[in-house]
């Protein structure tokens, strides 16, 4: 092996290692800070190794566990429901578009495609959902706006159907008496699990991470998702610290505020970190499929 080649090999290993470390380091700071005693944080700030170890932040959050549990309930419901319905709608749009026989196929394609090019914008969407459909402070406001945000998924699924399901197979199924729904369900879908899993995963992540709809449409704390709870807690603590009256000052002393901030974020991110090893393969595959187009 030439010296130059050896250099490139070492250089790749070292840079990738550093890159990976940079990606992980902020999480370490977050976790360490959440496990540090409040007084130690006041004195030394957040650090990568707890100066004084303490779980008081988590104990404090455990006392208010019902808020967090409810927020998780909202997030899980929204994610599951949104993903299932979103996938169903996507399949039902993509399948007819993949069939040459569908009347007005090009027009229908264009109707969907145009939404990828031109948006009405945030304010008109808000008016549709909040004023026309009256979805403010309704859990549906967390689900409906996200169902088909990405026209690209429809295109991706359509292309997959076209390229993996041979038209002859569909024809023979229909000669055997299967109607369109039956064909879709028992012939097309079983052949298309990879694309459905990928789009499902990405939709799932989108719902899990969504905070914007909650911020726009939800003011009732009972309907806060995990992300919205996180947002609210950061705002509340900032609010208390900046407007510290005599009473709030007392409340502050009982609350390990600085470590709680970090602990709540850990609780928000931990499920994803724990689940990630199990779905990372599909996540990366999904990024790669997306790479082909878009």
């Amino acid at each position: 092996m030439k010296n130059e080649d050896r250099f490139i090999s070492w250089f790749s290993h070292i840079s990738m290692f550093l890159f990976a470390a940079v990606c992980l380091i902020p999480f370490l700071l977050l976790i360490s800070a959440s496990l540090t005693d409040q007084n130690a944080i006041t004195a030394h700030g957040y650090s990568f190794i707890p100066q004084v170890f303490s779980t008081s932040a988590y104990e404090y959050l455990l006392d208010r566990g019902s808020d967090i549990a409810r927020a998780y309930g909202v997030t899980v419901f929204v994610t599951v429901f949104g993903t299932v319905v979103g996938l169903a709608i996507t399949v039902l749009l993509a399948y007819p578009l993949s069939r040459k026989e569908t009347p007005h196929r090009n027009l229908l394609m264009f109707i969907i495609f145009f939404t990828m090019l031109f948006h009405g914008g945030l304010v008109p969407s808000y008016l549709v959902y909040a004023q026309l459909l009256d979805l403010k402070n309704s859990i549906w406001a967390l689900i409906i706006p996200g169902l088909l945000t990405n026209g690209f998924y429809i295109m991706m699924m359509r292309t997959f159907f076209q390229s993996t399901v041979p038209p002859a197979l569909i024809e023979s199924a229909q000669l055997d008496g299967a109607n369109e729904y039956r064909t879709l369900w028992s012939v097309v879908l079983p052949l298309s699990t990879p694309v459905i899993a990928t789009i499902g995963l990405f939709t799932c992540i989108m719902y899990w991470n969504d905070w914007q709809n909650g911020m726009i449409y939800i003011t009732n704390p009972e309907l806060f998702s995990v992300q919205n709870l996180l947002n609210r807690i950061m705002q509340d603590i900032q609010f208390i610290t900046t407007n510290m009256s005599a009473n709030a000052g007392e409340a502050m002393q009982q609350m390990p505020t600085d470590s709680v901030k970090m602990a709540i974020a850990v609780i928000g991110v931990l499920p994803i970190l724990v689940a990630y090893p199990f779905f990372q393969k599909y996540f990366i595959k999904g990024i790669m499929i997306g790479a082909v187009k878009g």
């Binding site: 130059e4 490139i8 090999s9 290993h13 990738m16 990976a20 940079v22 990606c23 992980l24 999480f27 977050l30 030394h44 700030g45 957040y46 650090s47 709608i89 039902l92 007819p96 069939r99 026989e101 569908t102 009347p103 969907i112 939404t115 990828m116 090019l117 031109f118 948006h119 009405g120 914008g121 945030l122 304010v123 008109p124 969407s125 808000y126 026309l132 088909l148 369109e180 879709l184 991470n209 905070w211 914007q212 911020m215 726009i216 996180l230 947002n231 950061m234 600085d258 901030k261 970090m262 928000g268 991110v269 994803i272 990372q280 996540f283 990366i284 990024i287 082909v292 187009k293 878009g294």
Partner: protein, 323 residues
């Protein structure tokens, strides 16, 4: 075939066609019926708001209702472009995007090539999963991660890093504009480079191994292989992704510019983009007429840019174009 026969055949065709069409409709109606839920949704979610653009031309008065509000022509746009806001948000949106596109392409390409040089499959897989992890995390969490470093009283930078350099007083990160172009660029790259390098890496995996073998037989070093095989082959992918990104240069990553600076009003100058401006207008800390005008401005210029970018992509390579 005589003329009479020909015209008879034509007539037959003419009669046959509508019947065929009708039976086709009947036969394929289920395909259209199954599209109804999705099309209805798109109508409400996408097309109805497009009509809502009219509010940019009205003096919105919620007491009167949207439809009854008075028409004001282009007044909202005039106000918007008279203030310095329009300039700031346009400048920020475009400049940040330019940096993200140019530097981001270089960095993610570099990461992809380095990853491609690593021959151990296990390591490649491990690196792939770690560098894409930030892409998976919501911007709210990213805001918290940033806060752990930047908090004025307890942040890692003020309490640990700055004292190393003998700076004890600390910096008020969330009110000082001059640091934010750097911070936001850094955070964006932290979140996005892993993801986009995988996109390039996928393109690299598609390169035929035979090219490299031939080059090795000719005695080419790995650096020469990168320079003369890898790069030229993926230039079309780079061009395409860059052009598509340029088509979206009028849109910003709302979460990045809203969550990471903690929506701090003092940072408007350096962190406000068209998307955050529209959002703030809607949430009541701004003018709704002007923010709708800003939204329409974004939609229209954005639309033109997407079309243009796509036209250019088409000229390079028809398969890579969006349409």
């Amino acid at each position: 075939m005589t003329m009479a026969q020909a015209s008879a055949v034509n007539a037959q065709k003419a009669v046959k066609k509508p019947i065929k069409r009708k039976t086709q409709y009947r036969k394929y109606a289920p395909l259209l019926i199954m599209m109804i839920p999705g099309l209805l949704y798109i109508l409400i979610n996408n097309y109805l708001p497009m009509l809502g653009i009219v509010i940019a031309f009205k003096d919105v008065n919620f007491a009167k209702g949207i439809l009854q509000s008075d028409w004001v022509g282009l007044a909202n746009f005039e106000y918007l472009f008279k203030t310095s806001d329009a300039y700031i948000i346009t400048r920020n949106t475009i400049l940040y995007n330019l940096v993200f596109i140019i530097l981001g392409t270089v960095l993610s390409l570099a990461a992809a090539i380095l990853l491609n040089e690593i021959k151990s499959k296990v390591l490649v897989k491990a690196y792939q999963s770690i560098i894409t992890l930030p892409h998976l995390i919501s911007m709210v969490i990213v805001g918290y991660l940033g806060f752990a470093f930047l908090s004025p009283d307890t942040g890692f930078l003020n309490k640990t890093v700055l004292p190393w350099f003998g700076i004890e007083e600390g910096i008020s990160w969330y009110t000082e504009n001059k640091y934010w172009p750097w911070i936001l660029t850094l955070v964006h790259f932290w979140k996005a480079i892993g993801y986009s390098s995988i996109v390039y890496f996928a393109a690299l995996l598609g390169i035929d191994e035979e090219y490299y073998e031939a080059a090795r037989l000719d005695g080419a070093s790995r650096w020469q292989q990168i320079l003369h095989i890898t790069l030229p082959i993926i230039v079309p992918v780079i061009t395409m992704l860059t052009l598509l990104n340029i088509g979206r240069i009028f849109y910003s990553d709302f979460g990045l510019f809203y969550q990471v600076p903690m929506n701090s009003g003092a940072l408007f100058e350096s962190t406000s983009t068209i998307d955050t401006y529209v959002f703030r207008g809607l949430m009541g800390s701004g003018d709704i007429g002007m923010s709708t005008a800003a939204g329409v401005y974004q939609s229209i210029v954005g639309f033109i840019l997407v079309i243009l970018a796509n036209l250019i992509v088409r000229r390079f390579n028809k398969d890579n174009a969006l349409f």
